[in-house]
């Protein structure tokens, strides 16, 4: 808690009882009084994550009111899936979240497998786990670059996005796709690991760890970063349930919720996953937590590479996929993405097309309710850092 008290003089905890005037608990904001300015951050703004916008009212450089607007990336996936066959949904779902598409692929195939009662072979489960962990690393590496870039440190982004590109190369070797992989199909995976993949992956893990040491020295140990991130956007434990906060944002204030441990899926029950939590709940603790999480993912990838079976089937026996009818039913499957609980709710009505597919994006509440609350009374220049530190991903909010 010492971090919080240190920031008192910065203005976050200053006495706000007098200004702006409040009436019935709501601040009185009169735009015609020339004391407030209304402005937009985004969608055309370098300081927003993806394509979204925040409508803010500032008093000086202090934000007194924020309202998120999304919908710039809405493509109507859920409607489109209703008029596509089950197997045709696969090219669509990975586009729901761009930096980390594999969670979507896994979840939609898991939902279909559960409804159609298909057992996935052992080796395919390992390959899926490997793919998911690799995509976590790639997503986190991009996130570090974004968090540093939001504070004006361009160099970290140059390093980590460059390193992410080598992970994308691995993906390309494994799946054939750089950004969108379409690797996990119902019943298993599409391809086995190519020759020499394990050696390359181990090599890359070593290089990534080396890079992360540099990142720790120059980013997490940086005095400017600390002074700007500490005390910014504090999530308190009682906010977690109220706002449905999940993932690293919830773990940063002590809530032990990691689906890989709570409801293990794939091979996570055999792997040594640790619950990484923190108790501070501010943006800096979230950054540290995610930094530790990359190291855990690197550990997991090297462990999976050791334990992955050489022989074995990678695809279960499937019916004719072009005319695949799934029995009526409904299910909800979830997995831990880098932003938290990512879930798919699928309702089938016995035809060859799904009745309803709903993708619960992990940052659905982070970007709207939570951001609007946390953005109050912070400095305008900190809004970009706060937005990145909540790790919002607009395409999964509006789908």
């Amino acid at each position: 808690m010492s971090n919080l008290s240190k920031n008192k003089y910065k203005g976050y905890d200053a006495d706000r009882s007098k200004y702006p005037e409040t009436r019935n608990g709501e601040p009185v904001i009169d735009l015609d009084s020339h004391k407030f300015t209304k402005m937009w951050q985004g969608p055309q703004h370098p300081g927003v994550t993806g394509n979204m916008s925040v409508e803010i009212i500032v008093n000086g450089d202090e934000i007194v009111h924020a309202q998120t607007h999304v919908g710039y990336l809405h493509r109507g996936f859920e409607k489109l899936m209703e008029r596509r066959k089950y197997i045709q949904c696969f090219p669509l779902v990975c586009r729901i979240c761009v930096p980390e598409p594999d969670t979507n692929e896994y979840l939609v195939s898991a939902a279909m497998e559960e409804l159609a009662d298909i057992t996935v072979p052992e080796k395919a489960l390992w390959l899926r786990t490997l793919n998911l962990e690799m995509s976590r690393i790639a997503s986190y590496l991009m996130w570090i670059g974004g968090q540093a870039g939001s504070l004006g440190m361009g160099t970290i982004g140059q390093w980590t996005v460059g390193m992410r590109d080598f992970w994308l190369d691995l993906f390309e070797e494994m799946t054939g796709g750089r950004v969108y992989h379409m690797y996990m199909v119902p019943g298993g995976v599409r391809k086995d690991l190519p020759d020499g993949f394990i050696r390359k992956a181990r090599d890359l893990i070593v290089r990534t760890r080396k890079l992360l040491r540099d990142v720790e020295n120059s980013f997490l140990s940086n005095a400017v970063v600390k002074s700007r991130l500490q005390g910014l956007g504090v999530i308190t434990p009682d906010m977690v349930d109220e706002y449905g906060i999940v993932g690293p944002n919830a773990r940063s204030c002590g809530k032990e919720y990691d689906i890989r441990l709570n409801n293990p899926y794939l091979k996570y029950d055999e792997l040594d996953v640790k619950m990484i939590t923190s108790t501070v709940g501010d943006a800096f603790s979230r950054a540290q937590l995610r930094y530790d999480d990359i190291h855990q993912s690197l550990d997991l990838v090297s462990e999976i590479l050791k334990r992955i079976p050489v022989e074995g089937k990678i695809q279960a026996e499937m019916p004719n996929l072009l005319n695949w009818k799934i029995p009526a039913g409904q299910t909800y499957v979830k997995a831990e993405s880098t932003r938290g609980e990512h879930g798919f709710y699928m309702v089938s009505d016995g035809t060859d097309k799904p009745r309803r597919v709903f993708a619960r994006g992990a940052s659905y509440t982070h970007a709207i309710s939570v951001l609007e609350k946390l953005a109050q009374n912070i400095s305008l220049s900190d809004l970009a850092a706060l937005m990145v530190s909540l790790h919002t991903c607009p395409p999964e909010i509006e789908r």
Binding site: Q44, N51, G71, H74, R75, G76, R83, Q158
Partner: protein
Amino acid sequence: MNKKHNDEIENQMKLANESLPERERALFADERPSTVEAFNKYYEGFLNWARSRSLWMLAFGTGCGATELRPLMTSRYDMSRYGIAPRPTPRQASVFVIGGYASIKTIKRIVRSYEQMQGPKYVIALGSCTINGGMYFDSYNTINRLDYYIPVDVYIAGCMPRPEALIAGFNRLKEKIRAGECEGMNLYVEKFDWYKENQKQIIKDWNMPDYNW
């Protein structure tokens, strides 16, 4: 008589800005955009050569194609080698990279940003979804062809195009600029009414001036 006639013609040429409330109309320009004549052949050739070598890109990630812009900007593919740099504001930018599908809400912002860019300006449309809708051909919220709303100079096909494809697209744009073929800005002025009609057909709540300077 002649002067009055000229005034009448001028008034007809003014933009109505009908969607704006009465008191706000005076705040925005009602002048129509005008075409820019080329200089003489040699001077224009020199200018085109210079333009093609410093392309400033508007950093507006309009779709998922913006993910591949980040590797392009950073150390692996490093687009500054080609004289391309990202700029945060449309006033300073000369290339608008449309990153994939444009939903109706985004196309409004695209039009607005495009009109605010100062000439000479070029548009690169990235991804299959800007060409014919791609995999969102039947979506109710994404447009199918971009060239009905703003003029496009270079298309890059693929979903999504790799950074190498983007570099190839930028090089193609440079060739076109040097050859003096990138006249999208003048085309927009010449077919201004047609573009506006198309834009207003899909942007139902048009609450901005007809031409955003």
